[in-house]
Amino acid sequence: MNQLALAIPWLGKRNPAAARWVVIALALAAPLIAVLFGKTWVRILDFAMLYVMLAIGLNLVVGFAGLLDLGYIAFYAVGAYTFAFLASPHFDIHLPFWLALPAGAAFAALAGIILGLPTLRLRGDYLAIVTLGFGEIVRIFLNNLNHPINITNGPQGINMVDPLVLFGWDISQGLQIGESFKINSLFLYYYVFLAFVVLSIILVQRLQISRIGRAWAAIRDDELAAKAIGINTRNMKLLAFSLGATFGGVSGGLFAAFQGFVSPESFSLMESIAVLTMIVFGGMGNLAGVIVGALALTALPEILRYVAVPVQQALFDRVILDPEVLRMLLLSLAMIFMMLLRPSGLIPAYSRYSRPELVVGKQSSGEVAK
């Protein structure tokens, strides 16, 4: 979060403490601001939170460990479907949220290991191709496993997934305060998702500044040298895949509960690429960058959808470019400009894997050196 605060222009560097409060205030007030533009925007914010979680998880694999994964959405799918199997009328199982979600996460982690094992020796482009294939395989399985035995219900997906129920309180019903005032469930979902995001950030930061985070960074920077200092690269890569997948699985479970239904089309290759783009756009390897990237790239298409048509009508009296076309066009343009102007992302990675302040007496030696 400190990184996020520092990234705020002007204020971040002058008054980090104030900037930190700005970040907290923004995070808490976001849905209240969004609702001024309509309820849809709160919904978009909810999705943005899920994407932030996905981006954090993928960043663990791609940004920290340097394993290019183009099939990450598969873990999102595994998490979502596991949740849907365990909490919907489809199999008539209705496990509570606190069991279904960890189950989704665990299955996603298992899927991560299954993907990781055969790809251990691959790097870069080759790994990307295999993971891309993996993502598609999962989607195709989901699409076709309704025959001969109906497991996934095929392209129709699974409907009526149980909503989030926290301690016997069904969030999707909203919160009734008194007679006249009711908090919409979209707001409640936002705060639940926000809590998950904050927890993810804390956990990932702990991993980053640890022997494991350093081992990942070592493998990313130079695998041969990493082996030469005794890092078991096989185990560390598998750990990266499975932990990264866990975040995808949790996000998927939340998605299933929030949306109420899951279908294979939510987990297309384009989604994998979208999450990867968020990371690259924001700043690979940097948590703050990844979060900003995820928020920006979730919001951008929606803003376009609402702005492009009226603006074009006002300027040319008709719609020349369909918002969907415009979206791809602008996104590509944004990426090209990013490559030219800020090749390492919006907030370039300044990743720390240590706490130098832990060194006792370092200050004094620093003075001597001066």
């Binding site: 702990r206 991993l207 494991i212 070592a218 200092i229 894997y353 240590s354």
Partner: protein, 261 residues
């Protein structure tokens, strides 16, 4: 003298090319042992076999009384052999301190759950690692660059950092692959001091080097490789007088090469 490492009849082929054949040598505890030879003699190949990067077809290496696992670099490090690279291989995006901290990986134990929960033990271990890493930077004399990203360090300092990182694995045998390559006279002199300090502090050193002057002055004993075979193993003074060695280095008459082969 106690034997620390014994290589017995090491043979390594790449397709039809025999890179090493029947190389046996013995490194004693506490010495600086040199491995020299002309270009392509098989020095680096031997090095890679020793550190587990390659698997030898023949022979075995006994370290500290037990056989070294072949082709498993991380187990070799765990057994107590650390190495540096001829062309420096640091973790470029990490700071100097973090590079050395990464070197502590094999000697630390915190598992993912302990780290995620930040248990007392994990926190304490992290503090110890940071402190020890800083000590090592001081040991090799670059503590003022602790927070510098390693790719921005000068060439000589990168070499030192690589040695510090290798020492972080707490080795009994430190294997240096041409540490003086590309260094100027001052830097070489400093390196020589550092190697002597390391030996003095109880770490056996294996040195592969082109710089014959450095090797002769620094090593207690050395072995000479030529065309994948060991042609001499002795104290520097005796090696210098060895006919096979002289012909290998000066490209002597055919009868000498025949004798060497």
């Amino acid at each position: 003298m106690i034997t620390l490492l014994e290589a017995r009849g090491i043979g390594k082929r790449f397709g039809g090319l025999t890179a090493l054949s029947d190389v046996s040598l013995t490194i004693r505890k506490g010495e600086i042992y040199g491995l020299i030879g002309p270009n392509g003699a098989g020095k680096t190949t031997f090095f890679n076999v020793l550190t587990g990067a390659y698997t030898a077809e023949e022979g075995e290496i006994v370290f500290n009384g037990s056989e070294l696992p072949a082709g498993k670099p991380h187990l070799v490090v765990e057994a107590g052999i650390a190495r540096t690279f001829q062309n420096i291989r640091l973790f470029r995006e990490m700071t100097a301190l973090e590079n050395v901290m990464a070197g502590h990986h094999i000697r630390s134990r915190a598992n993912p759950f302990a780290i995620l929960l930040q248990t007392k033990h994990a926190k304490e271990e992290e503090r110890l690692i940071t402190e020890r890493a800083f000590e090592l930077l001081r040991y090799v004399g670059i503590e003022r660059f602790a927070d510098t990203v390693s790719k921005n360090l000068s060439y000589g300092d990168q070499r030192r950092l690589e040695i510090a990182r290798a020492l972080a694995t707490e080795p009994q045998l430190l294997a240096l692959d041409e540490p003086a390559a590309g260094m100027n006279a001052t830097e070489t002199a400093k390196l020589r001091e550092l190697v002597q300090t390391i030996r003095h502090d109880g770490v056996t050193v294996l040195l592969i080097e082109h710089d014959v002057k450095l090797v002769m002055g620094l090593c207690d004993r050395l072995a000479v490789l030529d065309f994948g075979k060991k042609i001499a193993e002795d104290v520097p003074a005796m090696v210098q007088k060895n006919d096979a060695v002289i012909s290998a280095y000066l490209g002597g008459g055919t009868h000498k090469v025949g004798a060497a082969a």
